[in-house]
């Protein structure tokens, strides 16, 4: 136990007017009022700290008063203790409150000083894009996945057997003239190497490699020696092939309707099927889709025969010619199916409203950013295949 002592050091605070160790109730009240007023008026944390030391520091006036309680009798302490304890608590609380207030004010001032112009530009980094052809191919893959079609691929540098002969297009067939074919001079014996004019050779490769039933799509680059406002020497096609038992033209019709409705995300898609001719299908069918003129633009959907409407050719298709099935080593009496092919670039133009095919292959960053897609616009069935 420390020996009883009064504060003998000169106090810095106003409490130093109270020089006696013991105080009357009145004196304590006055002391409290004085101390609280001083604390409330402290303008800085330093001033507040000085007040704290003067009041409840080791040699503070309030500490001194508390020390007078020690030697008192129990009765006396019961009488004189509470006011002194009250004084201590009041002073402690006031110090804490003032400290918080000063800190708050200091922070507010600091924050105010740190204010900057938030309208200044922020660099979000470069913005990349996915080409519309890639996007549409992903969309088509997604739609056909739901219909059970797998993806197949084949070479772009083909031989004439896969590109023509196996597809029932013999050398003298006028249909070869319809295809403006790019040829290569270097040819292995018995073959003429060329750039595939359509994705149809993938049909042949698939039927030769795979046991039926077959459901595939084959997207890719194709080439024709043709260049004008609406034709480029390279473009993109997607081929579809179904080989199974009991497949009819009715299945083809349903598949194309379903696919086009899903692709354009419109229920009012109207198809017009026209008899046509492709050597590798029989019967052969060309497919037009109805459009409506809206603000001078052709918008896919609606009956093409309605006023203000029209038809756009979008697909070639038909029942796979028996000769093609035979050429691939399958029995045409057992297996039957349909095939179709369409231009991916053209589908992209119809869906997203581009009007110049040549811009697809120019690499103009302005065009790519305008018509391209964000990396995360991944076509999904749940989110919709359009973006």
């Amino acid at each position: 136990m420390p020996p009883f002592s009064c504060s003998s050091r000169p106090a810095k605070a106003r409490g130093d007017t109270f020089t006696h160790c013991e105080k009357t109730m009145t004196e304590i009240s006055a002391l409290k009022a004085g101390l609280l007023a001083d604390i409330d008026a402290a303008a800085t944390t330093d001033a507040l700290e000085a007040l704290r030391v003067g009041a409840i520091g080791k040699n503070g006036v309030v500490t001194g008063l508390l020390k007078t309680l020690g030697p008192m009798s129990a009765e006396e302490r019961l009488e004189k203790g509470p006011p002194i304890q009250d004084l201590r608590e009041a002073v402690t609380a006031a110090l804490a409150a003032r400290k918080a207030a000063l800190e708050e004010a200091a922070l507010t001032a600091k924050l105010a000083a740190e204010r900057i112009d938030m309208t200044l530009p922020a660099d979000i980094g470069p913005q990349g894009s996915v080409h519309p052809v890639s996007q549409v191919m992903d969309e088509l893959t997604e739609i056909f996945a739901d219909l059970g079609f797998s993806v197949a691929t084949g070479p772009e540098i083909e031989d004439d057997w896969h590109n023509f002969t196996a597809l029932n297009i013999p050398e003298t067939h006028p249909a070869r003239a319809m295809h403006d074919t790019f040829y290569f001079p270097q040819n292995p014996p018995g073959k003429a190497m060329l750039l595939r004019t359509h994705t149809s050779p993938v049909q042949i490769r698939t039927m030769k490699d795979q046991e039926p039933p077959i459901r595939i799509i084959a997207p890719g680059r194709v080439y024709r020696s043709d260049s004008d406002a609406t034709h480029t020497p390279m473009f993109h096609q997607i081929e579809g092939l179904v080989i199974d038992k009991g497949i009819t033209l009715g299945h083809l019709k349903w598949t194309l309707e379903t696919f086009l409705k899903a692709f354009f995300e419109r229920e009012d898609i109207v198809l017009r099927l026209r008899p046509s001719y492709f050597p590798f299908t029989e019967p052969s069918v060309e497919v037009d889709v109805g459009y409506t003129l809206t603000n001078g633009q052709r918008v896919i959907g609606g009956d093409g025969d309605a006023p203000g409407g029209g038809w756009l050719e979008v697909l070639g298709s038909g029942m796979v010619n028996r000769r093609v099935i035979e050429a691939c080593g399958l029995d045409p009496d057992e297996w039957q199916g349909f095939a179709f092919g369409t231009g991916v670039d053209r589908l992209a133009m119809l869906k997203y409203g581009m009007n110049d095919l040549r811009a697809f292959f120019d690499g103009d960053l302005r065009w790519l950013r305008h018509y391209g897609f964000s990396a995360l616009d991944v076509p999904t069935l749940s989110g919709g295949v359009g973006a």
Binding site: G148, V151, I157, F184, W254, E282
Partner: protein, 805 residues
């Protein structure tokens, strides 16, 4: 194939109106490409008579006419035509009329101070021909005031249909009429072939090439007068865009379009000796009717006399022996040329003609005699003269094709149930003959048995394309209408859709979207580049024999040239920052390989209020892209080694390859070689890279389960080391050595500073590496840490590194 409505109606008796006919044509596979009524744009042009013609007071070449256009108020018209004169009856455009040729709206005006109302027109101004030497002159009795187009028979819609290559029969108006009749749009008129009583023997013709020209029929007509075709014929030919030439020539053209039967007429006066179909001789030349000279060879069939070749058989006649106004005796050729031969010859000579288009698709081999008779008859009627007997050399291939057909096939292939009777009607109306039984029930020993139908269908001679039962299904379905085919759902596999993309496609998709997310824009460039561009990246393995231009000639061996060209175009447009990538194939001699290429050029970051000056790209930006994209492609990025040996396209000192082991190159990248940048016209710093997706090993699919892992309980410890090493030591080697110093404790070593200069010996550099140590069960003791440090220093020492003091 163009024809007019009135022309069609000479073969088809029908009440159907134009819209019905157009719809039916498209529905049966004869797609209507256009329809135009020339009268529609000529509604405001009337027949008018010039009452007087005076010299224009101010201009020598102009006249002032008074024109009566039928309303009793003659108008004053200023006219510059040399043939304008009093009494001329012509075609007058009234005020408000739009001149078809130039879109000009006629209005009252003053020409050199003289009032002029409307215009007397030339054929060219009305888009009725090329003549523009003067205004149209009509017969004097033409009714003044009447609508000109109606009077001239121009109110006749011209229909343009697209004929698919299998339908030669529809390259004649009659074939189209037959199809429409089958569709139920009327009745096909019977064709009455005139009987020619030939006078005198037929011409001396023969075929010495029965393979290319199995049949050569001919007659002569003697005593003809050639001249202008009659109005009705000229009008029809003009309406469909054929220029009338002379009656004899026009007759052959007319019959070709009317009946799909090409013919040729020779001026007998120009022939010496017999006319023979034979193989061409090497080097033999013929000046064709198009004014060009063609050199034939022994694979081609020609028609020649003793002295010269007069016709590239079935494709184009010769200039020398064609009919002229002086012709008095003609030989009419009606031959059958073998389609395959015609196609080959046409392709070789790159010569197209209306005749070739028909012969190579296969004309009706049974129509030679009739065609010849119709032609001779028309010549006699229009040009006078006397026909000879016919010479029939050779035999056209006439064996009828018979197809066995079960009407149930229609449902089986097309999915549409067409009653057998209707199928029979359709086939018969298209000219097929149908024999045999339909499917039926038979009671065999009292038991009912279903017997499949068994028809024998004989194909008409004009349908070379039909040779199997699917063709018959096609015929039935196209006439019934494809709109009758019921939409039938494909049977669906139970459950949700399964993954269908190929592994390559999945890889490409991830790479593509990663690149886009990293700020690059996807371009699609041509697969072919110029020879020079190909040479700049090592040369291409495939060069096109028939490129569309020199710029698009060689299949690209690398994606770089296309990207660099696109970069230049963007630079030319002033793009400040260029980040482009492409995902596509490189074409090697043995196979096509998937690759990603990218180019970064211009500003990496623009000048900014925070960052200061604009920043350019460095080789390390290319390296960062390569590593990020390789990671997206599923390559084992942590195991890759950097070798400084990129191809010649790159700066030799600021490029590298990333390899899996010493041989497998997965990617190359770096600063573009300055000479390549110059070749492509690029300025500033250009960095690029290419990733060879085909070289990335396929990831083995081992199920979805990951290797077990629990984050370590104790925190990792970091220690920094700085080593002085000789300049030649590669940073990566030192980092690998440091990392390998204690494979258990060291989980990461990262170079964070490089320094040369004060305190570092000449020829040396200081490399600072942060090493991350991961304690296991318990914290490292000081002894353990010291041991690791010693091991690290020792490892560095092997590369000549000393710990920097």
């Amino acid at each position: 194939m163009k024809f007019t409505l009135s022309w069609l109606k000479t073969h088809l008796a029908t009440d159907a109106d134009l819209p019905m006919i157009l719809k039916a044509l498209t529905d049966i596979g004869l797609e209507v490409e256009g329809v135009e009524n020339p009268a529609e744009k000529l509604g405001a042009f009337k027949i008018a008579k010039v009452l007087s013609a005076e010299r224009h007071p101010q201009a020598d070449k102009l006249q002032v006419l008074t024109v009566d256009h039928g309303d009793g108020n003659p108008l004053q018209v200023v006219c510059g035509a040399p043939n304008a004169r009093a009494g001329l009856v012509g075609v007058f455009g009234v005020e408000g009329a739009v001149v078809p040729a130039n879109g000009m709206v006629l209005k009252k005006t003053a020409i050199r101070g003289v009032e002029s109302n409307g215009m007397m027109c030339s054929f060219r101004e009305l888009e009725l021909g090329d003549e523009h030497d003067g205004i149209i002159e009509l017969a004097a009795h033409a009714p003044v005031g009447q609508n000109y187009a109606a009077w001239a028979g121009l109110d006749d819609p011209v229909i343009d249909v697209s004929i698919t290559p299998n339908r030669q029969d529809c390259m004649g108006v009659r074939g189209i009429a037959r199809d429409l009749a089958a569709k139920g749009l009327g009745t096909l008129n019977a064709i009455v072939v005139p009987v020619i009583e030939g006078v005198g023997p037929g011409p001396d013709v023969r075929t010495d090439d029965p393979e290319g020209c199995p049949a050569f029929f001919a007659r002569t007509v003697t005593g003809v007068t050639n001249g202008q075709s009659p109005e009705w014929m000229a009008r029809r030919l003009k309406a469909i865009g054929q220029k009338p030439i002379s009656t004899l020539v026009d007759i052959t053209n007319y019959i070709m379009i009317d009946l799909g039967r090409p013919l040729h007429v020779y001026d007998m006066a120009m022939l010496k000796g017999p006319l023979v179909a034979r193989k061409g001789r090497s080097g033999e030349q013929v000046l064709a009717l198009n004014g060009k000279t063609y050199t034939v060879d022994p694979t081609m069939t020609v028609i020649a006399d003793d002295e010269a070749v007069h016709d590239i058989g079935g494709i184009m006649g010769g200039e020398h022996s064609g009919a002229t106004d002086a012709t008095t005796q003609v030989l009419i050729e009606c031959a059958y040329f073998t389609p395959e031969h015609i196609a080959m010859t046409g392709q070789k000579l790159t010569l197209t003609s209306d005749a070739r288009g028909r012969f190579e698709r296969g004309v009706d081999p049974a129509f030679l005699d009739d065609g010849l008779s119709i032609a001779a008859d028309l010549v006699m009627k229009l040009c006078g003269g006397t026909a000879s007997e016919a010479t029939r050399a050779g035999q056209p291939p006439l064996t009828p094709k018979k197809v066995s057909y079960d009407p149930a096939r229609c449902l089986g292939l097309a999915g549409v149930d067409v009653p057998a009777a209707e199928q029979k009607r359709i086939l018969q109306s298209l000219g097929f003959t149908v024999e045999g039984d339909e499917s039926r029930v038979e009671y065999q020993d009292g038991m009912p048995v279903s017997i499949a139908g068994d028809w024998t269908v004989t194909v008409p001679t004009w349908r070379r394309d039909v040779d199997g039962w699917p063709d018959l299904v096609e015929e039935v379905v196209r006439i019934v209408g494809l709109d009758h085919v019921p939409s039938t759902p494909l049977p669906r596999e139970p459950g949700v859709a399964r993954p269908t993309a190929t592994p390559e496609q999945l890889m490409e998709r991830r790479v593509r979207r990663t690149a886009a997310a990293r700020g690059l824009s996807e371009a699609i460039n041509w697969s072919f580049i110029s020879e020079k561009e190909a040479a700049s990246v090592g040369g291409g393995a495939w060069t096109l024999a028939n490129p569309i231009s020199e710029d698009l000639k060689v299949m690209r061996p690398s994606l770089l040239p296309g990207l660099l060209s696109a970069t230049r175009r963007n630079m030319d447009r002033g793009a400040p920052s260029i980040r482009l990538f492409e995902l596509g194939r490189r074409y090697g001699a043995d196979k096509e390989r998937a690759a990603v290429g990218f180019v970064l050029a211009g500003e990496k970051a623009p000048r900014g209020w925070q960052s200061g000056k604009a920043q350019g790209f460095t080789a390390f930006d290319a390296k960062a892209e390569v590593i990020a994209l390789l990671g997206a492609a599923g390559a084992p990025v942590a195991n890759l080694q950097n070798f400084g040996e990129a191809s010649a396209a790159y700066h030799p000192g600021q490029s590298g390859t990333l390899r899996l082991g010493p041989k497998v190159v997965l990617a190359e990248y770096g600063v573009l070689h300055p000479s390549l940048a110059k070749q492509f016209g690029l300025t500033g710093m250009v960095v690029a890279g290419e990733i060879f997706l085909d070289a990335i090993p396929a990831r083995r699919k081992t199920g979805f389960m990951r290797a077990p892992y629990a984050p370590p309980a104790l925190q990792a410890v970091k220690r920094d080391f700085a080593f002085i090493v000789p300049e030649a030591v590669e940073a990566d080697a030192l980092v690998r050595a440091v990392k390998g110093a204690d494979k258990k404790a060291i989980v990461e070593a990262r170079l964070f500073d490089i320094f040369t200069g004060a305190g570092v010996e000449e020829g040396h550099k200081s490399l600072a590496i942060e090493v991350t140590l991961q304690p296991g069960e318990k914290s490292f003791s000081q002894e353990e840490l010291d041991a690791i440090s010693t091991a690290v220093v020792k490892a560095a020492a092997k590369l000549g590194g000393t710990l920097r003091g």
